[in-house]
């Protein structure tokens, strides 16, 4: 059993949401749908920050470490002395590490999004549920 409320305007939607939470409904029983991001709603529902950024942090650190280690260790293993540069040159290897940090960080963030949002939502694709233009509040009862 669930109560479904539909709104055309963000203002009415937020108003009702605040009302519901104040009247004692557990935020975890409320599901909302919105046609565009509504940051206020996340505040009202006391949602914790998304886990995606942990993915990004780990990815970024891995990328930077990979950049430095890949370049430095292979250079030490097989030194190719070129242009009077030191075998392990920090300035050029910093560039490689930086690029890999961004690459791994970005891809990890995307992976994190896919995983935490449980997408692709095969059931939704097949059932052809729609991403509507309205704001909706679904309250799970019982």
């Amino acid at each position: 059993m669930s109560e479904r409320l539909v709104f055309g305007s963000e203002h009415d939607f937020l108003h009702k949401l605040e009302e519901l939470v104040k009247s004692g409904v557990n935020p975890r029983d409320i599901e909302i749908f919105a046609p565009h991001p509504v940051h206020k709603a996340e505040e009202i529902l006391e949602m914790k920050p998304s886990f995606v950024r942990t993915f990004a942090l780990i990815g970024g650190l891995t990328g930077a470490a990979t950049g430095y280690l890949l370049t430095s260790l292979t250079a030490l293993d097989w030194p190719l002395p070129v242009g009077n540069k030191p075998i392990v040159g920090i300035p050029p290897y910093t560039i490689i590490a930086f690029e890999l940090m961004v690459l791994f960080g970005g891809l990890s963030a995307f992976l994190g999004f896919i995983v935490t949002s449980r997408m692709p939502a095969i059931r939704t694709i097949i059932s052809q549920d729609e991403f509507r233009d309205t704001f909706e509040i679904h309250v799970r009862k019982g």
Binding site: G83, N84, K85, G89, P91, P92, T94, I95
Partner: protein
């Protein structure tokens, strides 16, 4: 911190500081060297940088900066102090190699003339801009654009002529812009410190100011590091002796400057970056104020290390000057209403209402 200054007292204070600088410099000569140059460049940079930040915010139709405007605007009165210090530093122009061996452009007379002219022009335009901005006048954006152009030109000239020519003919095309970005970052830090004067405010505009300054400090410290790295990598990679000797003298392990050089990088970028990564830290005034002091110390060391391997710089004089100028700047900020002749709390109700309310 600081005392209240009306225009007469400000003039008097400036002259006193300049006189102390001149006196100390003559007493310590020749060991004094570039101390006045460094102190002057630091404070001119932070004052002009702070005003440039306000100009940038005006041009891009920001609203977050309005509570900061009056105090930031008062910093325009640091520019003439810098000019006075430049004038009392004229005897020390002998530290430059071109003083003995002048060319058409780089000789004492033209050098002094053009910098005095630049100071006058920048002060006039800055004063006009801040006057318009504080009143919320229509022509604010026009003067903001003119000011930004002059800021870039002035700080580039200071960077190139005050600091780069000490090692003539060594040059780096990014040097002027590097000093300018250092100045802009100093301006952001200076504005973070002015928050002390209204630290007890917890209303929404102050929170927005605090958050914006924290974010800007993070972003521009990284931008500064980008400029630092760009200079480093080109010189490191090309490995041309005429170019590398400048860096080698300052960051090589065999020099006495190897530690300050690394400290500079640590203070201006590493510390603010890792501390401000946490979103919460950007909004805490004690954190950003402490970081501001660290960054400003780093910028001072940066200017110092540009001159120190070539000319003597008296550290006691430098510290004295920085202390005096800090007190004077704090007093100027505290007296913004007297100096700018605006009501004391023109903070939340500027005359200019934004056209679209958001």
């Amino acid at each position: 911190m600081g005392i209240r200054l009306n225009p007469m007292r400000w003039l008097l204070a400036s002259v006193i500081v300049a006189a102390i600088a001149f006196g100390a410099d003559r007493v310590l000569e020749p060991a004094a060297g570039g101390a006045i140059t460094i102190a002057a460049a630091l404070f001119i940079g932070l004052a002009e940088g702070a005003i440039c930040l306000m100009a940038g915010a005006e041009i891009s139709d920001g609203h977050w900066h309005r509570p900061l405007l009056p105090r930031a605007a008062s910093l325009v009165y640091v520019i003439p102090v810098g000019a006075l210090l430049f004038l009392v530093n004229i005897p020390q122009l002998s530290i430059y190699p071109w003083a003995e061996d002048p060319s058409g452009w780089l000789s004492k007379g033209p050098f002094i003339a053009r910098h005095v002219a630049l100071f006058a022009l920048v002060f006039a335009v800055a004063r006009k801009f801040v006057g318009e901005a504080v009143r919320g006048a229509q022509r604010t954006r026009f003067w903001a654009v003119i000011y930004v152009i002059l800021f870039v030109a002035h700080l580039s000239m200071i960077g190139i002529e005050w600091f780069m020519t000490i090692e003539r003919p060594w040059f780096s095309t990014l040097f002027g812009a590097f000093v300018m970005v250092s100045a802009f970052l100093s301006g952001i830090c200076a504005l973070s410190l002015t928050v002390f004067s209204w630290r007890r405010r917890t209303d929404a505009p102050s929170k927005l100011v605090q958050k914006s300054l924290g974010g800007l400090m993070f972003g521009f410290a990284t931008f500064w590091a980008y400029f630092y790295f760009s200079q480093l990598i080109v010189i490191w990679y090309g490995n041309i002796p005429e170019e590398t000797m400048y860096l080698a003298k300052r960051i090589g392990y065999h020099t006495p400057y190897w530690l300050p050089a690394r400290l500079i990088f640590g203070m201006i970028w590493v510390t603010p970056f890792f501390v401000l990564l946490r979103r919460k830290n950007k909004t805490l005034a004690p954190v950003t104020s402490t970081l501001a002091v660290i960054v400003l110390s780093g910028v001072t060391m940066l200017f110092w290390i540009m001159l120190a391997p070539v000319v003597p710089v008296s550290i006691p004089l430098l510290v004295l000057l920085i202390a005096l100028l800090t007190f004077l700047t704090a007093s100027i900020v505290r007296s913004y209403d007297l100096l700018l002749r605006v009501p004391a709390e023109v903070v939340h109700e500027p005359a200019h209402q934004p056209a679209h309310s958001h």
